[in-house]
């Protein structure tokens, strides 16, 4: 087993030992999104219009919630330091951690999103587009979030600090992800949004692990 796979499977196994904790982001996602109709009002037309934005904002926030623990526990018990001085490169470590985080938070969000789409009265076509957007976009959140988590390792208030650092950088993802569904609803082609989302995904897949590795070297 390659070291990258070893870290990936280790993180997944650790998460599976505490299933309730691993499911928290998804529960937050559903609860937060279902608060909006209560605040905005039950008009079907309004809800349908704001649904993509709400789902995306909630996805953004819920994937930020679990970032704190991405490196936090490994840092606290010293295993992160051992990983960094091992033969494994920091970039591989960051990539493996990012993939693990995405599998634990991004994928569940993806699976639950059709349910929210139905709650907000979206058509099946829009739901499909939204899920595809989330498929492209949530890895970006995990990758960028990993950088924020590495920068704020072991700091006071690091949970809030991550939000402040990472959220502004994730704004393009929000715009294109929610924009794809909105464009399709108003009769435009969503392709452009997906292309750009894909481009940002590639850029962050190449750049974020490097930045995260550098951040880990600074912080540890």
């Amino acid at each position: 087993m390659s070291p990258m796979m070893a870290i990936l499977s280790r993180d997944l196994r650790l998460a599976s030992r505490r299933p309730a904790e691993a499911l928290l982001p998804v529960v937050f996602f559903v609860v937060a999104a279902s608060l909006f109709p209560l605040g905005v009002g039950p008009e079907a037309a309004t809800l349908k219009q704001i649904a993509p934005g709400i789902v995306w904002v909630c996805a953004l926030l819920s994937s930020m919630l679990s970032l704190n623990s991405m490196y936090g526990s490994d840092y606290a018990d010293g295993s992160l330091e051992q990983m960094l001085i091992s033969q494994l490169s920091g970039i591989e470590l960051a990539a493996a951690k990012g993939i693990a985080h995405w599998l634990m938070t991004g994928v569940p969000l993806l699976l639950v999103s059709p349910l929210l789409g139905l709650l907000f009265g979206l058509s099946w076509e829009s739901i499909g587009l939204m899920a595809f957007g989330l498929l492209l976009g949530t890895p970006i959140l995990s990758l960028m979030g990993g950088m924020g988590a590495a920068l704020t390792l072991g700091l006071r208030n690091s949970a809030v600090l991550i939000l402040l650092i990472v959220l502004p950088l994730c704004i393009p993802v929000l715009i294109f992800g929610a924009g794809a569904v909105t464009a399709a609803e108003s009769g435009l082609s969503p392709d452009g949004h997906f292309y750009l989302l894909g481009a940002i995904f590639l850029l962050s897949a190449l750049g974020a692990p490097v930045a995260t590795a550098a951040a880990l070297r600074i912080s540890v």
Binding site: M147, L151, I165, I171, F176, G179, G207, A211
Partner: protein
């Protein structure tokens, strides 16, 4: 024979401290003089705008502030990156000293934009692409400052801030274009700021004078703050002790 200062002379905190002490009063003087001149031209010489009346005159503060907000972010990221790459202490201190001034100019640009928006657009705030990306720039500044302040270890704080500033600088164009595209998709181009009518000569003059004033002010404040940072970080050095003993 007295040697001329070389390029990196002022990279040493001690000589920078001396340079800053000498230049700061001059910079404040230049800032005040150009601000008075610029505001005089802007408020008394420049003609009344044909469509916007007198309300346009806030442009003389608004536009230079917006320019400064962007330039200072780049300067901050540049110094921070240099400080990280070359392990130059003073460069990192400069980056730290620039951040609050940059945030202040961003806030000023947003605030004056709101004052300008009310009479011309009828709203304090519109989700215009420029306004929105300026707001996001403010968030980036706040994130940088919060991160740097939260880390107690000076070296780690400098390097972490540098990384964040670089990632932010790479992201700024992406954010700007995404916001612009988002804006054109959601909202018709009822308000166009890009197709501004040709400016009168005096208006441009006033704007440029104000820009000089803001540059000088930014230098003065950043030098003041950098001086304080130098003293704080070098408090164990002999020259700082001698300085304190003298006072």
């Amino acid at each position: 024979m007295k040697k001329l200062p070389r390029l990196f002379t002022f990279a040493a905190p001690k000589s920078f401290y001396r340079l800053a002490s000498i230049t700061v009063p001059w910079l404040y003087g230049i800032a005040a003089a150009f601000a008075i001149w610029g505001l005089y031209v802007g408020f008394f010489v420049a003609p009344v705008d044909a469509t916007q009346g007198n309300s346009y005159r806030i442009i003389f503060i608004h536009v230079p502030a917006a320019w400064m907000s962007m330039v200072l972010y780049m300067a901050m990221a540049g110094w921070a990156a240099f400080g990280w790459a070359a392990n130059a202490r003073l460069a990192s201190m400069m980056a730290r000293a620039i951040a609050p001034t940059g945030a202040a100019f961003t806030f000023l640009a947003l605030w004056t934009g709101a004052f300008w928006g009310k009479p011309t657009w009828g709203a304090w705030w519109v989700w215009d692409a420029r306004l929105t990306s300026e707001l996001i720039l403010l968030f980036l500044y706040l994130g940088f400052m919060a991160l740097v302040e939260a880390i107690d270890d000076v070296r780690r704080a400098d390097h972490a801030g540098a990384l964040l500033a670089i990632v932010g600088a790479v992201n700024v164009p992406i954010i700007y274009f995404s916001v612009r595209w988002w804006n054109t998709l959601h909202q018709g181009s009822s308000i166009s700021m890009t197709a501004a009518p040709k400016m009168a000569h005096t208006m441009l003059l006033s704007m440029l004078l104000m820009t000089v004033a803001f540059w000088a002010y930014a230098f003065a404040v950043v030098f003041m703050r950098a001086r304080a940072v130098v003293l704080e970080r070098e408090s164990g050095a002999d020259w700082v002790r001698a300085l304190v003993a003298k006072k």
